[in-house]
């Protein structure tokens, strides 16, 4: 199947998000759609699958003009999408989510037996055999939810598959599996649109790249004939400095010391130290207990064993507010459910943690709050017309920067980062790395969980690798390689 979108324009109110964008997709190709956060990638794809309607422009399928007015229309055309934001209904089971509104039936009633079987088959195909089709979707980790979304999209047997940052929450092993599936689909003539901010992936798996900048189409390239620098130039419109800026920091005294830490069954025997100005990376496969370490330190999960001290004082926080008071900050993994109050403005979200900073006797000083927010928006290059807009109107990457901004109003002693650059574009990532470096230089001890190995390797001083809830080892980042990390993470020592 062949798709041609021409002259697509779309505005939300006065904001032009897409202006005359052309996009062509051939059967049997994996086509990367690149662009900075807010460039309009998700919007373009939502138009293709009927979530939004274009204000102008046309869509042709195999040479015939079509109108795609709803997601039902696009499904009939054989177009399936994995949305950037997870869309599972938390109270329903995994299989109910997968077959929502197309449940297999027998004599008019839902045939759960067949549904379970089908769900299991598709989950096995993506290598997610550990996910129970009857389990509640809301109980799964973000990565697992993403796997369910992928299995669901595959089960539609679509001719065109749109993947909007499907790997943002996945680790190496799942990604390998996914790439294998994508290659198979491609061989069967399925056309795939692939949106990702992970550059390495694009060059590994894709055939072509189309680039959007500020809602305009700036070019299409064949992968074999282009390179990292050209793509970045197309995306950003200028040269980008170092992808991973160097950090010149004097490493200080031990700030965070953890010994023999355990929670209620996810992790045990965790011990490490982080010094002032140091970044400790935490790597591991999905479900290895990386986030659990952070959650236990932050008082979200209950600590059942072990000692934690901060600047020599025992850290006994049993709630997040106590942890924050002790000087711990936590950039959470899932911005939609844990990081942001979507119905509140950028300003209100950015100051949620340290609102007391701008208040006297419980009364907020609107001026100093707004000034601080203006500074943060500026410092982090958060793209928003107005900090008074709902945070949900921002693009994914910019939302992520707002989550980061929450903790910067008053630098903590220890900052825990869980996938801090998830969904952030190359430029934005570099900005966040600069911020991490600046915090480190100011003496903050940083613990960073990340699924992106190049990021962990480049940004950490040392790397703690997790395997099935245990610590498989701590490696010096300077001498570690992707292979050593992966070997430890898979338990082959």
């Amino acid at each position: 199947m062949q798709i041609k979108m021409s002259g697509i324009s779309k505005a939300f109110g006065p904001v032009k998000v897409l202006e005359g964008v052309d996009f062509a997709l051939q059967a049997g190709e994996i086509h990367a759609l690149m662009g900075e956060n807010g460039a309009g990638k998700s919007t373009l794809m939502k138009i293709l699958c009927g979530v939004y309607q274009a204000d102008a422009g046309s869509i042709e399928v195999d040479g015939h003009a079509v109108q795609i007015r709803s997601t039902t229309d696009s499904e009939h055309l054989g177009i399936a999408i994995i949305h950037q934001e997870l869309n599972l209904i938390p109270q329903l089971s995994v299989m109910e989510n997968m077959f929502l509104a197309r449940e297999p039936r027998r004599f008019g009633v839902i045939d759960s037996g067949r549904m379970r079987e089908e769900a299991r088959r598709w989950l096995a195909l993506v290598g997610a055999t550990q996910i129970d089709p009857d389990g509640e979707a809301g109980k799964l980790s973000i990565g697992q939810q993403q796997m369910v979304e992928i299995a669901k999209a595959l089960s539609l047997n679509a001719q065109v598959l749109i993947m909007d940052e499907p790997t943002a929450a996945l680790t190496e092993r799942e990604i390998e599996k996914l790439f294998g599936i994508m290659t198979d689909l491609k061989a069967k003539g399925v056309a795939i649109v692939y949106v990702s901010h992970r550059m390495e992936e694009i060059f590994r798996i894709c055939d072509k790249i189309s680039v959007l900048r500020d809602g305009q189409f700036v070019g299409e390239r064949v992968i074999a004939e282009t390179g990292f620098d050209e793509i970045v130039r197309l995306m950003v419109g200028r040269e980008l400095g170092d992808r991973f800026p160097k950090r010149e920091v004097e490493i200080g005294a031990v700030r965070l010391a953890v010994s023999d830490l355990a929670d209620q069954g996810n992790i045990a025997g965790i011990g490490f130290e982080v010094r002032a100005g140091e970044v400790l990376g935490i790597a591991g496969l999905m479900g290895a207990g990386r986030s659990e370490i952070l959650k236990t330190l932050f008082g979200v999960n209950r600590r059942t064993h072990g000692e934690v001290s901060l600047d020599g004082q025992p850290l006994t926080a049993r709630t997040p507010s106590q942890a924050i008071a002790a000087g711990v900050g936590f950039v959470t993994e899932d911005r939609k459910s844990q990081g942001l109050v979507l119905g509140m403005s950028v300003r209100e979200n950015a100051t949620l943690v340290h609102l007391a900073q701008y208040a006297h006797g419980g009364v907020v000083n609107g001026r100093s709050e707004s000034e601080a927010v203006a500074r943060l928006v500026d410092e982090l290059h958060i793209r928003t017309r107005d900090a008074e807009l709902d945070v949900k109107s921002l693009s994914g990457g910019n939302q992520q920067k707002v989550v980061f901004a929450k903790w910067l109003a008053k630098p903590p002693k220890v900052l825990l980062l869980d996938e801090p650059t998830r969904g952030v574009d190359v430029g934005g990532k570099a900005e966040i790395y600069h911020i991490i470096n600046r915090l480190a230089a100011a003496g903050v001890a940083i613990v960073m969980v990340s699924s992106e190995l190049p990021e962990v390797l480049a940004m950490s001083d040392r790397i703690l690798v997790m395997h099935q809830g245990r610590q498989a080892g701590i490696f010096d980042a300077a001498s570690a390689t992707q292979e050593t990390i992966m070997t430890a993470a898979t338990g082959n020592n």
Binding site: P320, L340, V341, M344, L352, L355, V363
Partner: protein, 312 residues
């Protein structure tokens, strides 16, 4: 029209509806716009207003408080019993309001610590507290207390023109507006209602926010009870039945979302007035009370439908 202007217009929708209804009534009944009648309307709505202000906070949290009518009754019974026993009326009034706060606090504890759904928690409390007011009053109204201070609470006038309950209502309106708009607590109410998990992870003590909000709602209901008892010059153990529904209707009419996280106190004031004006106008026009219900219900449905359709 920019989205912001549109949003503002949308927000002012209930206000425009109020003006429209007022204009219509003024046209149909010349008495409506007289100062006497307007003050009368304001006094009539003040009880619902006081309850609805507290209810706004509860609904902003995504909760609901069905127990306000019972709190109103029990607090009134306490105050009346104290006054009849010869205690100072000012003290009795304060104790009444405080008892309402305590009852609200119990609601909050059950919801926040006991993790009981607000609908069920406050439904249970509604029944328990109603039963207690019947127990303490022996099922009959408590009368026979003489106090200038206390009768002023519901029946007095400021400068011979503005009824005291109206003054109270306006003061409370200003206070609630300030709290929601300008204080850390107000911001935490919106955040907890919008996304409790994110708020908690940002260090908001969401349990405390919940307990605080239900406590306030209880105190406001008790305050409304003082006004009512003063007006009637007796405390009725069956007072306030169904008041929770009027308060909820006013809050929702004012554009506050039952899902929590979105809404404002000005809207609630407008919602209260809209209901009050309708009651008054339909009376003035001599519409039968059967039809009054039909009309009132329809207006509520229509207003909320318009509000929703605009939000899509």
């Amino acid at each position: 029209m920019t989205p912001q202007q549109k949003a503002t217009l949308q927000k002012l929708g209930p206000f425009l509806a109020l003006l429209l209804v007022c204009a219509g009534l003024a046209f149909m009944s010349p008495d409506f716009l007289s100062v006497g009648n307007l003050m009368n309307v304001l006094r009539q709505v003040s009880i619902n207003a006081l309850i609805a202000f507290g209810m706004t906070l509860v609904i902003l949290l995504g909760g609901i408080d069905l127990s306000v009518g019972s709190i109103l009754a029990l607090a009134s019974v306490f105050t009346a019993m104290m006054m009849r026993a010869g205690y100072d009326p000012i003290l009795a009034t304060l104790v009444g309001v405080l008892s309402g706060a305590v009852m609200g606090c119990v609601n909050g504890l059950v919801v926040a610590k006991g993790k009981v759904a607000p609908f069920i928690a406050t439904l249970g409390m509604m029944t328990v507290l109603r039963g207690l007011s019947l127990v303490f009053s022996n099922g009959s109204p408590i009368t026979g207390f003489q106090s200038d201070f206390f009768s002023m609470l519901g029946g007095g006038y400021l400068a011979g023109l503005v009824p005291i309950p109206v003054v109270w209502t306006l003061l409370m309106f200003a206070l609630f507006w300030f709290v929601l708009k300008k204080t850390v607590f107000g911001r935490h109410v919106y955040a907890t209602g919008g996304n409790a998990e994110a708020a908690m992870l940002s260090g908001v003590k969401t349990n405390r926010v919940q307990i605080g909000v239900y406590t306030i709602s209880g105190a406001m209901a008790a305050m409304a009870g003082m006004v009512l008892t003063s007006r009637l010059n007796s405390a009725q153990p069956t007072a306030g039945m169904g008041y929770e529904l009027d308060a909820i209707a006013a809050v929702v009419l004012g554009g506050t979302s039952l899902a929590g996280g979105r809404g404002w106190i000005f809207g609630t004031l407008v919602g209260v007035l809209l209901i009050g004006v309708l009651n008054n106008g339909l009376n003035l026009l001599g519409v039968s009370s059967f039809y009054q219900q039909v009309i009132k219900g329809s207006v509520i449905l229509l207003a909320v439908l318009l509000d929703r359709s605009g939000k899509k």
